[in-house]
Amino acid sequence: MARVDVKKTYKLYIGGKFPRSESGRSYEVYAARKGEFLANAAQGSRKDARDAVTAARAAQPAWAGATAYNRGQVLYRVAEVMEARRPQLVQEVRDAEGLTAAAAEAVVSQAIDRWVWYAGWSDKYVQILGGLNPVAGPYFNISASEPTGVVAVLAPQESSLLGLVSVIAPVIVSGNAVVVVTSADRPLPAITLAECLATSDVPGGVVNIITGKASEIAPWLASHRDVNAIDLAGAAGADGVDWGALEEASAENLKRVLRPAGTGADAVEPDWTATPDLSRLTAFLETKTVWHPKGR
């Protein structure tokens, strides 16, 4: 008789824990190609988002205060764990995105490589972006990048893992904490990534992952005054999401807004396989300039 397998329960990831949505809701997730039922995902609510922001705010100072070397190692460790979970990630990406096995393998490889690429930036971008300013006076003057704080991210709707990694890693590598709203229809790789994060050394609360509908959650994040920045990448292709309205709500506390790709009012999901530059990292940095006199 065939063994009855143990099905995975997908939950939210908030403050390093895996709670169900406070709303008690879940929704059914189907495979992209043949539409078979994959799992129930928790349907995050505005209160889940609120809790996630609280967790992110609490975790952010210590994460930013860790040494850059340490953050780099912690992120690298995530890549190690992802590699160890490769078969699971491949299967989930395959199901989510309707890819062939080979294509899904390639996506997972690129996602892991991208994570490693960003991990390596932890102790380097500050050197590239800042430095000594030769002011016309007897002053030592230096500019350095700091993380913006708590960043809300609407993860891409299509690219369930590579896109996800491409929006999370550049935000946290500098010491930000993040609240991610996943792809609504393809949330499962995100929860497995959460498990990778939870079993690596990323402190709880640095990454918070909410599955569900951006249309429901994003407005609360955009208007949340304790969120310092928002990445609207996932507005592209998200049902009922008006990125302009989210940007407008973000103006209330002058959030830094990373608009979705596209022209005019259109939002399109970019090609995540393209080689990234530093722009997603720099979008969530603040430049601090410190002056001190030079005297005897």
């Binding site: 006076g137 007897p138 002053y139 006199p293 030079k294 005297g295 005897r296």
Partner: protein, 335 residues
């Protein structure tokens, strides 16, 4: 330096210092702790403040007033190995009548000479001129002599009729942290000064940092100096505006602490009326107008007087003047 050495308890300065420092024995350690506990001086901020005061624009009536005040604050100085009786008498005559073309010109505060010229200066100035005789003493300018010699040097000058003694501190002792030696020397010199007012030359050009200038100022006042003075004039830099600013802050704060007023004398390098007025502005805005009086502020200078006289003539006549119109016993062509 000896840390356990204590001050001569016979001296008033020592007991007052003990009171101020709140210690039962005045040790070098106690002095060090106290002096090093003074707030630090940020060089850039201090120099920016001085430069800011230097941009004050003093015109018309204020300028005329300031020029006369500056003249009245000059310690007209000759401190050369080549000084002769004739040179000192000539300088005395200049002090008595700075501008023969305008008898309303104020007289400088004092004639400042080496100890052996005190008698000549005294005699040339007469008893009622109001111009004081100041003598440099204590093995000026280096101060490298035994205490006995320094005291004898001082007594000599006082006996010859000096109203004021300009002593030098032992910069070597100061820079090596032997504050107690500096303190004792000042206190002992003060004791033999009698009624003569004691100006303590710190030779700020050798102390180098503003922190040192502040500490030396407080040490000098603690030991009983009536004036703190920047320089001998033999070392560069001599009297700069920022150094004088630090000293003016020191006398201001000292009065707040003790109720006693101490004078300030920048000396050396102040040659123009414009410079002198910057110093007066600094006196006015840092220490306050109580110091705008030649009992509390002096310029140690030689050529400054003639430039002030030139400017004074310019203000009086409305025309620019020239060296030929400044009577002088040792005329200069420097302007």
């Amino acid at each position: 330096m000896s840390i356990t050495q204590t001050a001569d308890p016979a001296l008033d300065a020592t007991s007052r210092a003990r009171d101020l420092l709140g210690v039962s024995r005045l040790t070098n350690q106690a002095l060090t702790r106290w002096l090093h506990g003074l707030p630090g001086v940020d060089q850039v901020g201090c120099e920016a403040r001085a430069a800011g005061l230097g941009t004050r624009s003093i015109k018309t009536t204020s300028k005329a007033w300031a020029i006369d005040l500056a003249i009245s604050m000059i310690d007209l100085t000759t401190l050369e190995g080549a000084d002769t009786r004739g040179r000192v008498r000539g300088l005395a005559a200049k002090a008595l009548l700075p501008d023969p073309s305008d008898p309303s010109t104020p007289r400088p505060a004092a004639l400042c000479v080496y100890g052996d010229m005190v008698g000549i200066a005294r005699e040339a100035l007469g008893a009622d001129s109001g111009v004081k005789v100041a003598a440099v003493a204590t093995a000026f300018p280096s101060g490298r002599a035994s205490m006995a010699v320094k005291l004898a040097d001082t007594k000599d000058a006082v006996r010859a009729g000096a109203d004021e003694i300009d002593m030098v501190i032992d910069r070597g002792a100061f820079l090596s942290g032997d504050y107690l030696t500096v303190f004792n020397q000042i206190a002992q010199v003060k004791e033999v000064c009698g009624d003569a007012r004691l100006k303590v030359i710190m030779e700020t050009g050798e102390l180098v940092t503003y922190d040192n200038v502040r500490r030396a100022s407080w040490l000098s006042m603690l030991a009983g100096g009536d004036f703190i003075k920047t320089s001998t004039g033999k070392i560069q830099p001599a009297a700069t505006l920022p150094v004088t600013l630090i000293m003016l802050e020191a006398v201001r704060d000292w009065r707040d602490l003790t109720g006693e007023q101490v004078g300030v004398k920048p000396a050396g390098g102040i040659r123009t009326s414009k410079d002198a007025i910057k110093f007066l502005v600094t006196v006015n805005e840092i220490a306050g107008e109580d110091w705008l009086d030649n009992h509390w502020f002096r310029f140690g200078a030689s050529s400054l007087l003639n430039d002030l006289l030139l400017q004074r003539q310019r203000m009086t006549t409305g025309a620019y003047s020239g060296a030929s119109y400044i009577a002088d016993d040792s005329p200069s062509t420097a302007y």
